[in-house]
Symmetry: C2
Subunit: 210 residues, 2 copies
């Protein structure tokens, strides 16, 4: 059997008929994504190669291409895995605004323990600004989602009398998202920025009483 | 004459004996950097190719390689040109703190008129977090420099009685740098974020009376 290895088809997650039986296939897929996560974390997206990923788990390149048609598609799977592990902000709940602000700070502390994942996020978010990038749409959705959720939480903080005077919840939400991104970039680049969680917590305390 | 085209030598800017007479060489070099600036702005760093850059100015690839040994090295020159055009924060002066805050806001308005350059900055800052990236050291220096300068300006604002109560100048400086980066990323990714300059100005007014 000759396997197709399309380089251009990175648009959709559609079912792949060339996959094997589901259970084994899912397990192998997960193994590949784990290897890619480590490779991307250590070498960035640009520095990573499909070859290096295969070598981590001792499989052939055609096997990887039977699951993921490109490095970009593999990246999407890596970011999904990351979210599954609690790096996402989706558990935040406007009906519990103060707890949600605390959870956001805890998220940054969690990230502090995972510098490789932080570097991965910075690198991909940066690249994804170009409209042709395969992660462009998913990152756009992530940003809109993060800003909307954090905006709702800050609105709820205001209703609970916990927002500092003069803080505009929607504008502050943009700065909170920016601070999360920007502090992570600084933390990776500058050894002088010691504690991501502490810096972010101090900033959040200028906005919210929590 | 056979020209060497080293792909690995991206470490140093040392003198290139293969350059022609200085004046003509400098003019040609500038033309290449201009073409690269446009190519990087439209297609990002990853999407750009040396071939596309040569096609913009109708020269051969060996010619470009006689000036820049790699795309990464060309990028460094593009970022220097960007700074020369006023995208840098180096004119900020702690002896005139309020004017410097206004200048920082004007810088963001200036960036708003140059989305391609903003996208370029986001993409390269993101990639530069990985330690092997050719822009790693220069971006690290940029970040330290920006944080230090803005910290000094906020300290001076405090001495002038212009800093809002409870704002810690050094911690706020990190958030200001983060806000500049993060707002630019959001502005590129989200059409809902309309005015970079207005968003940044509103944020700065939560820190400083200017």
């Amino acid at each position: 059997m000759i396997r197709a290895m399309p380089d251009d088809d990175t648009t959709g997650p559609g079912p792949r008929r060339r996959r094997g039986p589901y259970a084994k296939s899912a397990e192998r897929r997960r193994e590949i994504v784990e290897a890619a996560l480590h490779e991307f974390s250590e070498n960035g997206f640009r520095g990573a190669t499909m070859k290096a990923i295969t070598e981590r788990i001792g499989v052939t390149q055609p096997l990887i291409y039977s699951y993921f048609s490109s490095k970009e598609e593999l990246l999407t799977a890596v970011l999904e895995l990351r979210d599954d592990r609690g790096f996402d902000i989706s558990p935040l709940d406007p009906s519990r605004p103060v707890e949600s602000v605390r959870a956001l700070v805890e998220l940054m502390r969690h990230n502090e323990a995972h510098p490789g994942i932080v570097a991965l996020h910075c690198a991909i978010a940066g690249e994804a600004v170009t409209s042709g990038h395969p992660a462009h749409d998913s990152f756009r959705r992530r940003y809109v989602d993060a800003r909307t959720r954090i905006g709702a939480i800050l609105e709820a903080c205001r209703e609970a009398g916990r927002l500092r005077e003069g803080v505009d919840p929607q504008r502050a939400a943009r700065i909170v998202v920016a601070a999360m991104d920007g502090l992570q970039t600084q933390w990776i680049l500058e050894p002088e920025v010691e504690h991501l969680g502490d810096e972010f917590e101090a900033f959040m305390r200028t906005l919210v009483d929590f």
